[in-house]
Amino acid sequence: MIINSRFFNRSELIGFLALAVLLFVILPLSVDIFRLNLVAKYLTYAFVGIGLVLCWGYGGILSLGQGVFFGLGGYCMAMYLKLEASSVENTKIQSTPGIPDFMDWNQITSLPFFWKPFHSFPVALMAIILVPAIFSLIIGAAMFKRRVGGVYFAIITQAIAAIMTILIVGQQGYTGGINGITDLRTLHGWDIRTDHAKYVLYFVEVVLLFGCIVAAQFIRLTKLGRILVAMREQEDRVRFSGYSVANFKIFAFCAAAVFAAIGGAMFTLEVGFMSPSFVGIVPSIEMVIYTAVGGRMSIFGAVWGALLVNFAKTSLSESFPQLWLFGLGALFIAVVLAFPNGLSGIWADHIQPRIDRLLASRRPKSTNYVADGAPAE
């Protein structure tokens, strides 16, 4: 009895199909490439959201430092792209041609050793996954083995986010400092700035996103997912039952980090640069907010949360340049106070039952749907 008989229950299947239709059909057909590129940018945060659902919603581990992993993934990608954009003929005017422009401005005359592997595309792709995985493994092992949890863990992850920003800003010769790594042009010789490339990247990203959704759903449905929930509810009982709680927590944390890193790498490709402003405390907390608004127990909720909050951010700031931050703040407070389970909670508590009742009144036989749609825990 490792996996349920059905991978998705009925309401999840509806959610999956609705999202697939929206992202694969409706949006590409209805909005222009500029807006579609914005949607792609919003969706990069959905990767982080899916990770947070696993680690926070199911595992009960609140990480306020997901920006670190988003950033690590993004920087790994950006380093590869920057080296490609810094070919000798592109950088003739520098004192040392062939190195990224910001290094030249900072009087660095040769490529630092840790940049060298990023000349290779496969290495860069591997680094996007491995660097955040190993880093989160170290953090996770150091903390969970010592039974650091709850709010202390949240504070420490936040501190790591702050340290990471200071490190990147301070070492500007090696990292581009506060400007970040900008002016990225080609991926393995393919110009990522054209409209055509933006379409391709969008679909690649959506496919990856659904890959992550399926992976997260798989983790959720296995025995592992059950243990995560059990740990969240009664950590001691799980430990007394003979499970190594720390290892499960480390796994959930690493999985969330890898999802965030994939999002970060896609962000670099979609937006064309990476900077420390996605690594620090504020973006990390924003990522938690997207998840909270979407509903931290729902994988699809996280995707919707990232989409809708960012959409609100863009449209509010376009209409009210001076007031939009207040509006957005009010929106968060309203959602958290009125709907603690976020958008997916609204759906599950208010809309889903009505649809079921409507269907049930038409087809009186199928009354057992409601039980199916209720939270599995």
Binding site: W105, V169, Q172, I178, N179, G180, F273, L325
Partner: protein
Amino acid sequence: MSDVSKPGLQSPLRRKLLMGMAALPAVSMLSRPSFADVPATSAVNTTGLAVTDSEVTVGILHSVTGTMAISETGSVEAEKLAIAQINAAGGVLGRKIKFIQEDGASDWPTFAEKAKKLLVNDKCAAVMGCWTSASRKAVLPVFEQYNGMLYYPTFYEGLEQSKNVIYTGQEATQQIIAGLDWVNKTKGAKSFYLLGSDYIWPRTSNKIARKHIENHLQGCKVVGEEYFPLGSTQFNSVINKIKLTKPDVIYAIIVGGSNVAFYKQLKAAGIDLSKQTLLTISVTEDEIDGIGGENIAGAYACMKYFQSLDNPNNKAFVPAFKKMWGEKTVIGDVTQAAYLGPWLWKLTVEKAQSFDIDKIAAASPGVEFKGAPEGYVRIHENHHLWSKTRVGRAKADGQYELIYETADLVEPNPFPKGYQ
């Protein structure tokens, strides 16, 4: 008739008279449509920008929220004033300027996103915007890809030149070299202590300053160079080092809120700026507002504009600015440079007789603005401005008193040979 078809020069009265004449049967037989002084949109806009027969849309892209809002607000105000004045004077090629304002929110990717929106969605004919180097670096690829025109107001580190940007502030050498020469000549300064916030502009500026001090000024040397994280408020240790090394000049490029702590701690440590020479390139009247005039009185700043400049242009500009934005506003160097943006764009469009970006980029070199509050500016082939360098001394009332200005305009040199 030749001057009738020449656009942009007629008074409204003259136009009405001509239109009246056109109504005469004898004249109407000529049936020429060229009585309007507004050139046809199809002729001046061949690339689909947001230009109609009566309006042209430009973008304003600054942070009005977040940490940079305090600095960028002045630029927004100056740009809006310039646009209002241009509209009152008849607009650009007979078209009123309409602006779309977007908030960069002190966040570099937001700047890139909004820049793209202004160019792709709104088809802005020009964008006035950005402040920090980071935001400019973030939008530059967008402007180059979608062929937009950015008027960038801030003094900055140089090392950049783009067809799609007009830099209305000074690049580093314009701000640094003349000031160092002045302090060396008039104060006999031989030793310099370089300070800066830790990011690209102060680091590059100090690099240029160091090369100039060591290679071009006889017998001068740098006795210390230190950087502080953005937002840092602890300067006691460096102030102690300054007291020990006793440099002739403290050369300070500290930005933003850190300035407040730095100058207060200098004063508290007993360093009297009327005796110790301090030269800064990062404190404008806007920053003094936060630092407090009494804390910085006596310091020297090297800029191209001070609110106190005594010339006819500035005497008209300062009251107009205060009338629009309130008596209490102060006008710093960057605010003035931001004011130049819309005017330079208007003059360039009229020179090119077109709104097309490529034609504006090509027509920009040589465009001169005689109404600039700083006096007179001209666009160089490298899209930076020829302008004078000035040294002012801070007074307790928060204003600068002009001490020195270069006799001639200083040539912009964003890639200075021998300084890199």
